[in-house]
């Protein structure tokens, strides 16, 4: 085959080629999990552990406190399970990126025709897969062990779950940008950054519990709106569309902002030569 024939073959059907490159990155990570059962077990370990601990806490508080209805309605367990979606989403994205650094494979990816946006799309797909593998078994186990059926939230659960996954992507884009800026020295953030946001996400208590000056910061986070909506559904049996809409609007703003930061840092890394030695 002559070069011109190969060029013609390569130039056709560009959207399909883009999807195929995204699949290539996803396949790379799926192959990694297939060959490494400990990685797969680790995905489920923490969500299940968290669920078990908070399940017992819920049972204890239900017997000891007066707000039995609220506790029994499952706001603690619901909070734990949904917050795990945000945590696992952020880690799924960031750690998949770090896997490329650890295997010293990033150079090969960046000199392939894969666009940065396609790489981000591939990491998002991996984030969703890792989150589902980690959190759905914990949700099922909460039903079996504590008779807490989070699936009773129905379509609202899907909407809230998705909102938290998107928030996880926004945070992960920020973390990945820091790794591009500061190298592997910033990788600890991949595990810790979202835990630092937990107090302001109002996972276990209403936003009104926070001091007045802190509430605007909490309400700037999509998660705070998701958990307000979750409490309205579990305790008051009503759909709070306002909070759900706010979560998605904020997500759109955060994703756009963090995508801009990521692209800026990616370009800056190309200028500084950081892509040549990012794992060091």
């Amino acid at each position: 085959m002559m070069p011109s024939d190969r060029e013609a073959e390569r130039s056709v059907n560009r959207p399909a080629q883009s999807i195929r490159r995204v699949w290539g990155l996803v396949y790379r990570h799926l192959a990694l999990y297939r060959s490494s059962p400990p990685r797969l077990i680790e995905l489920m370990y923490w969500p299940i552990l968290q669920m078990v601990v908070w399940g017992f806490v819920t049972a204890y508080l239900a017997g000891m406190q007066n707000n039995v209805a609220s506790v029994a309605a499952g706001v603690l367990l619901g909070g734990v399970l949904l917050w795990e979606a945000a945590l696992r989403s952020q880690m799924g994205f960031s750690i998949s990126f770090l896997e490329e650094i650890w295997s010293r494979n990033l150079g090969h990816i960046f000199v392939s025709p894969m666009r940065p946006g396609e790489m981000v799309a591939g990491l998002m797909v991996m984030s969703v897969l890792r989150t589902c593998i980690g959190v759905v078994p914990a949700m099922g186990l909460a039903w079996v062990l504590y008779a807490f059926n989070i699936f009773a939230l129905g379509p609202l659960l899907v909407a809230q779950f998705a909102a938290l996954i998107i928030m996880g992507w926004a945070v992960a884009l920020g973390v990945t940008s820091l790794i591009l800026r500061y190298g592997a020295g910033a990788e600890a953030l991949a595990w810790s950054v979202l835990f630092g946001i937990t107090p302001f996400a109002c996972v276990f208590y209403p936003v009104s519990v926070l001091p007045g000056w802190l509430q605007p910061f909490a309400l700037a986070l999509p998660a705070a709106h998701v958990f307000e909506g979750m409490r309205a559904a579990l305790v008051e049996q009503r759909m709070d569309w306002g909070h759900l809409a706010a979560a998605y609007v904020l997500n759109a703003a955060w994703i756009a902002g963090m995508a801009w930061v990521f692209m800026r840092q990616f370009q800056s890394a190309r200028v500084r030569g950081a892509l040549l030695n990012i794992g060091e």
Binding site: M1, M2, P3, R6, E7, E9, R10, S11, Q17, R20, R21, W23, G24, L25, Y27, R28, A31, L32, S35, S36, E99, S103, R104, N105, G107, H108, I109, F110, V111, S112, P113, M114, R115, Q267, R270, V271, R272, G273, L275, L276
Partner: protein, 249 residues
């Protein structure tokens, strides 16, 4: 015919005040040509290759690869290029076949299964194709890296010390495969190497780099004659040590 690669006055300065790592590099590579990039450590070879691959943005200058301006349209060029270096690994937990599938998808290779089978046969990967890449010997890893570099049947191949740390027999085997691929496809090859015998064998033209600049160039035979030496290694030493004894260019 469009040149495989045109480099015009390429400069890379990592920070203001620092000496440029690459300083005014210009050359043109025709399709089917093999050019050797020679120079001591810190001469600017890796920086040059990184800029040619789009990993690094030049401070100034222009790169046109396979007719595409790398500053504006690098992905179109990258689809027809590839790269191999012993210093960049493939994922060690994945088998050789899985690694080749990954890169086959990234480069949108048509008929991927058949392409992998062909490469496995040509590069003798069959006996270990389903073993994790991390469990292979240095020679086997080099063959896998070469298979990855050829997965998309590139028109422009960049090689950074492709036979480093290989025994002479395996090194010769790799060089023979590269020669066969070039003859079969008309691929242009840019080769950075410290192995002067390899450069003499594969390259029709050599760029001698020192402190980011081309200090001399020509075919290996021309350089050897110009410096009054017996082989390219002696020419390299003359240039690296500044002890040139032959005629000036």
């Amino acid at each position: 015919m469009i040149a495989a690669l045109t480099v015009e006055n390429l400069v890379k300065r990592y920070a203001p005040g620092l000496a440029p790592a690459v300083d005014g590099l210009s050359f043109t590579m025709a399709q089917g040509q093999t050019i050797g990039l020679l120079g001591g450590n810190g001469a600017g070879k890796t920086t040059t290759i990184a800029m040619l691959l789009g990993l690094l943005v030049p401070s100034s200058g222009r790169i046109t690869a396979l007719g595409h301006d790398m500053a504006k349209d690098r992905f179109a060029a990258l689809a027809r290029m590839n790269f191999a270096s012993p210093y960049i690994s493939l994922p060690s937990k994945l088998t050789v076949r899985e690694n080749l599938r990954v890169y086959g998808h990234l480069y949108n290779v048509a008929g991927l299964k058949a392409r992998i089978a062909t490469l496995a046969e040509e590069l003798q990967l069959t006996e270990f194709i389903d073993r994790p890449a991390g469990q292979l010997s240095a020679g086997q890893k080099t063959r896998v890296a070469l298979a990855k570099a050829l997965i998309n049947t590139p028109d422009l191949l960049l090689l950074d010390e492709p036979t480093a740390s290989l025994d002479p027999d395996t090194g010769d085997w790799v060089r023979t495969r590269l020669e066969r691929y070039r003859e079969k496809t008309g691929c242009a090859i840019l080769l950075a190497s410290h192995n002067m015998a390899e450069v003499e064998r594969l390259c029709g033209h050599v760029l001698m780099l020192k402190q980011g600049r081309v200090v001399d160039e020509g075919s290996p035979e021309e350089l050897i004659a110009r410096f009054g030496r017996e082989d390219l290694e002696q020419v390299f030493l003359d240039i690296a040590r500044g002890t040139r004894v032959g005629e000036s260019a």
